[in-house]
């Protein structure tokens, strides 16, 4: 009987070992909006992410106020008028990555499915992108559109420059295994 308990405990510790946790070491989210007056582009280097290579679960946290714009007033308007970042300080993604094989190296196509929360509004999304297993590192790349309307982001009518109804988001993440 003691032996069976011992086996059971082994499984427990094995389950813990198999949970391969990865954390972002460098992460960048960029968005691009093509508008008639001028193109608007901003990037964010304060993004963090966690990935479990075994189960495929994936989570990202994007602090909105960390987006950097080439023009400082644009940054202020982005935070105050569009994203209301004092009220909704972060955007998040939580979901599962499927269609990838962790044993293969090289570029693979994968699909992330889950909940994307921007401006306090959560939507189910499917994002397809690339995953690269490169030594100790996992690299993820994706380009996907976000509709402002889907997240109830309003464009103030009075603004002289107009943001496109749909912005293009580029995400680049480099993960490394969490060392215990």
């Amino acid at each position: 009987m003691k032996f069976i308990i011992f086996i059971g405990l082994c499984f427990y510790s094995l389950a813990d070992l198999k949970a391969q946790g990865y954390k972002t070491v460098t992460a960048e989210v960029e968005f691009f909006s093509s508008a008639p007056v001028e193109d608007i582009k901003a990037d964010n280097h304060a993004v963090t992410g966690l990935f479990n290579a075994q189960t495929g679960s994936l989570a990202f946290l994007v602090p909105i106020q960390a987006f950097r714009f080439p023009k400082s007033l644009m940054q202020e308007h982005f935070n105050e008028k569009f994203m209301e970042s004092q009220k909704y300080p972060e955007a998040t993604f939580e979901g599962k990555l499927t269609r990838f094989d962790p044993s293969k190296s090289g570029v693979q196509n994968a699909v992330a499915e889950g909940n994307l929360m921007i401006h306090g509004i959560t939507n189910k999304t499917r994002i397809s992108g690339n995953i690269i297993f490169k030594g100790d590192q996992i690299i993820m790349e994706a380009v996907f559109p976000v509709k402002l309307e889907d997240h109830e982001i309003q464009i103030p009518q009075i603004l002289f420059y107009n943001i496109a109804e749909e912005v293009e988001v580029t995400a680049n993440f480099v993960f490394e295994e969490i060392k215990k």
Partner: protein, 292 residues
């Protein structure tokens, strides 16, 4: 018996371990990211409240062009088209040399006055190690009026005026901002013998959000250490309309001048008897240097 219970419980809980791990990922990130973003993006919409400055300064490399008008008195009647026939204006340029330093120049048609100032942002609300709930800006302004006064032997010294201010402002919440402006003015030449050259004043400013792009403002300066004379405390109300890059400010004020050395010591209009000037400021922002 106890052993069997242990095994069963182990086997039952085993499949849930990875599942539990997956659900916690986002919470885990949230607990790791305890970065607080307490500092407001802006305290006021524009770099001027109405006549005077706000604590707002633009970031390095921003040039702001200001066009300001004050029309005549509204109670001057239909013949003067309620003041619209007379106008005095100020053209100004504010340039942010550094994030913390803004230099500005201006030309006023009233008294043909030139003004120049240095505006130093000492502390931003919620920034740095000690997080204070207000911003502090130091402003020093000098002006020279070049209007010809043949009745007086005028020299350069007599034409100079100085204003020094500490602007203390707090963005109280999403809706409202409050500003206090302790001010010292020195005029090298005053109109009457009994008047002091130095003058202390305390200003109060309020800005309240109406809609996302529309704010309501009040500005009042209370003058101290002055004997009874004809001069009034400048009081102004107005709105800011922000359009991204431009701010349109429309206001009603009893002051005619648009620089501290002018409107604080020598406002003559009695606001509540209708000596009110309609006016506007238009600011246009140009970013000359990219950030990063």
């Amino acid at each position: 018996m106890m052993d069997r219970f242990l095994i069963i419980s182990l086997l039952i809980t085993l499949p849930f371990i990875p599942a539990r791990g997956q659900e916690n990922l986002l919470d885990q990130l949230k607990t790791e990211n305890v970065t607080e973003w307490k500092s407001p993006n802006s305290t006021f919409k524009a770099i001027r409240l109405i006549n005077g400055h706000t604590v707002e300064t633009r970031n390095k490399g921003n040039l702001e062009f200001l066009i300001s008008h004050r029309f005549g008195r509204i109670n001057s009647g239909a013949y003067q088209f309620f003041g619209m026939d007379q106008a005095n204006m100020r053209l100004g340029l504010d340039y942010s040399v550094e994030d913390w330093l803004t230099l500005g120049i201006g030309r006023n048609s009233f008294n043909k006055r030139y003004d120049g100032f240095a505006k130093v942002s000492l502390y931003r609300q919620g920034k740095g190690k000690i997080r204070l709930p207000f911003s502090v800006v130091w402003l020093s302004n000098m002006s020279i009026h070049t209007i010809r006064r043949p009745e007086m032997p005028m020299n350069l010294q007599r034409r100079l005026n100085y204003a020094h201010q500490i602007l203390i402002a707090s963005r109280i919440n999403q809706m409202a901002s409050l500003q206090l402006m302790p001010t010292y003015i020195h005029r090298n030449l005053v109109r009457e013998r009994e008047e002091n050259n130095g003058l202390f004043a305390l200003g109060v400013g309020i800005s309240h959000k109406i809609t996302q792009s529309l704010h309501f403002n009040v500005e009042y300066y209370h003058r101290f250490s002055q004997p009874n004379n004809e001069y009034m405390h400048p009081i102004s109300i107005g709105v800011d309309i922000e359009t991204g890059g431009h701010v349109f400010q429309l206001h009603l004020t009893n002051a005619q001048e648009m620089t501290e050395t002018g409107f604080i010591p020598s406002t003559t209009g009695v606001f509540f008897s209708g000596d009110i000037h309609f006016g506007f400021n238009i600011t246009r922002n140009f970013q000359l240097k990219k950030t990063k």
